[in-house]
Symmetry: C2
Subunit: 195 residues, 2 copies
DNA sequence: GTCTATATGCTGATAGAC
DNA sequence: GTCTATCAGCATATAGAC
């Protein structure tokens, strides 16, 4: 603990990422200094540049990892079956995946404007791919006559906003369990698409 | 235009607020300096302190005005009538009011963490009052047997997140008019509450 | 009411010792 | 791999001239 120097590259890198995520989520990218991140990790500011080329990369890497992990995790569970079953799987996946990593979700939504133009474009492309996953479910249900949706693109945006909103108010140990929240949102989602 | 000094207190104050709103929305509170705001207004940085005690007050005043105006505007249109009619009025009001002032809405949602603890508490109280307006409509419809809602508190949060989300993707002159968006969201809202 | 000048301190990033 | 020292610049806020 009192150790001030030493060779610990195998763990310091991830700790830099973790500290940046934690601080960016709590105080915002622009409000957090490199010195503050270094302090959280327990190194001097200069040492951070062994693990990231600059502050912008630190933010981009966090957001890129988050979006990639989101898409990959969905691919693992992306249900086959009827559109209704697939929509139910999406509802469950989105709520649980987002509740499991509130800091990454918060940063991914709040810090978009602090990305460089090139990095912003890359992250938006990943977000578009995730939205397309939901829209394909809605289109399939609409074509099969199982859903009644006036506009699948708007329904996609509406449902994602509604589901992501859970992160803003859900508190562990609160009035409702995650499973109960999932069930209640499923009821509203199902009705909203006319199923 | 080339005028560098002079007495224009009656317009400089509002211009400071407008510049702060514009810049905070575009770049974020923490990323915007007082010098930058002064530059936008066309005065020196020191002159800003004639119109605000400090940077924090600039942010708080913007958010407080926004929330107060939101509550007051709703009070003007808050429909009497059946719960279904009142919900339809809320749907319309929320979408249009928010689309009319995207910068204020954006700042009010994104900069909460940059408020001092006392100011945060005050803003959250105003937000709670607005949410209570919607929840009272949902409760009335539920009690009258006209809605079918598993949990009115969650439905309140879900619907507000969904409606506010319009601001993140709606672009003037895009594929859909505001009226069409309102109609499509009303279809989804109505179905979601089981009406 | 606005200006200039200034105080005090923090910023991202780099160079070079160890 | 981490440290210390440093650069050049910008931050908020205030004092006092005009």
């Amino acid at each position: 603990m009192a150790r001030k120097t030493g060779s610990r590259s195998e763990i310091t890198g991830p700790r830099v990422q973790a500290a940046a995520l934690h601080l960016f989520a709590a105080e915002g990218y622009a409000a957090v200094s490199m010195r503050r991140i270094a302090q959280e990790v327990g190194v001097q500011a200069g040492a951070l540049y062994l693990y990231t080329s600059d502050k912008q990369s630190l933010l981009y890497d966090l957001m890129q990892s988050h979006m990639t992990e989101l898409l990959e995790a969905w691919r693992q569970v992306a249900a086959v079956g009827s559109p209704l079953e697939r929509l139910r799987a999406f509802n469950r996946f989105h709520i649980f995946h987002h509740l499991d990593r509130p800091e990454a979700v918060f940063v991914a939504y709040m810090e978009l404007r602090n990305l460089s133009p090139e990095n912003f474009t890359r992250i938006e492309a990943l977000r578009g791919r995730y939205e397309a996953e939901l829209e394909s479910i809605l289109k399939a249900g609409q074509q099969a006559g199982q859903f009644d949706i006036p506009d699948t693109k708007l329904a996609t945006m509406a449902l994602i906003a509604m589901l992501t909103g859970v992160n803003t108010w859900f508190r562990q140990g609160g009035r409702l369990s995650r499973e109960r929240v999932e069930a209640i949102y499923w009821d509203m989602v199902r009705k909203a698409v006319g199923a």
